[in-house]
Amino acid sequence: MNPFANESETLDIADLTIENRVDHISLFGSLDITRDKIGLAKAKALYSLLGQAINVLESIDLPEKIDLEKGDRIRNPFT
């Protein structure tokens, strides 16, 4: 995954879902990192993703808080 680079990529680590957006990365669900080889693989996948995200964030000029674009309001076309 290329953090913050597109709006398309998703990745599942067990039941943890990760979605890439240009203004944030969403992580949701649940993840057990077990004390075994499977747990290590999951931990490394998550660690790698967070490492890449931090690299991107540290390499650009960051605002204090990113602005959303809430759009506008229109008359309901269905009523």
Partner: protein, 264 residues
């Protein structure tokens, strides 16, 4: 021949409500009948898209799904377990460019791309990839998508395992005088609903939730939902069955379990 065809078409039009809308994928719908969009304003620029695991009706006005339907079976759910991979949200190539949503339409909007037919129901990698079409999405409040709504999707899968098979239809509702519009293109629904019908019980019911972070889905009969959304969801189902609300399974979100654990 042409005359016969015309008479048949006329019959189709006259009895249209009972037969359901014309469809390219009857296998996804109860009795082969697709949901009927009664409201002509909803029907404008509406197109059906058929995929392996589900069929949907897309609106070129909202640039979202109007409904998304699947026949969920025990085997499909069991085959979907543990199916985890990389997927890509993508614009739907079956919808003309000037009617569909693009990835950029959701960017920086604060909304999740909420699946109508869930990716977790898909029985193969290919079928799962197809659920990531933007034609199967609506802008959905993030905490609803990941919490209460995810929990409904999960209990629906459990119900399919327990009861053998289900017909599931999920969609948005656009109510009120005005609507929020993202990037001048995609309309934000005010509510999200899900209807289920269980053939082995001959019973059904529905959930509906405000499209807000703290929304709590409430249950209602299929008949009540159809009145609220202005669709004939199951054209082949009799009115009496639609009016009876089955004992709906209770949905528990990850979030709630997490909170409970924190209190100990």
């Amino acid at each position: 021949m042409i005359a016969v065809k015309s008479i048949f078409l006329l019959l189709l039009i006259v009895t249209g409500v009972a037969l359901g809308a014309e469809t390219g994928c009857p296998q996804h719908y109860l009795g082969g009948a697709a949901p009927d969009v009664g409201n002509p304003k909803l029907a404008a620029l509406a197109r059906e898209v058929c995929y392996q695991a589900y069929g949907l009706q897309h609106s070129g006005i909202t640039r979202t799904a109007l409904w998304s339907a699947e026949h969920l079976t025990r085997n499909h759910v069991l085959e979907s377990k543990g199916l985890h991979r990389r997927n890509d949200f993508h614009p739907d190539e079956h919808i003309p460019y000037n009617e569909r949503a693009e990835l950029a339409d959701y960017a920086r909007s604060g909304f999740d791309r909420g699946h109508m037919t869930p990716s977790g129901d898909a029985f193969s990698e290919n079928a799962q990839a197809e659920t990531f079409s933007l034609a199967n999405m609506v802008p959905q409040a993030g905490r609803l998508n990941r919490g209460a709504w995810e929990a409904l999707e999960s209990v629906t899968r459990d119900l399919a395992i327990r009861r053998g098979d289900l017909y599931v239809i999920t969609g948005p509702l656009f109510q009120g005088i005005s609507l929020q519009r993202l990037h001048g293109r995609v309309l934000v629904p005010t509510k999200i609903w899900k209807a289920i019908y269980v053939p082995s019980l001959n019973q059904g019911g529905a959930w509906i939730a405000e499209n807000t972070d703290d929304a709590k889905p409430r249950t209602m009969s299929i008949a009540a939902l159809e009145r609220e959304v202005g669709l004939n969801l199951f054209p082949k189902l009799d009115a009496r069955t639609k009016t009876y609300l089955m004992d709906m399974p209770e949905a528990k979100a990850y979030r709630r379990n997490y909170t409970r654990r924190q209190h100990h």
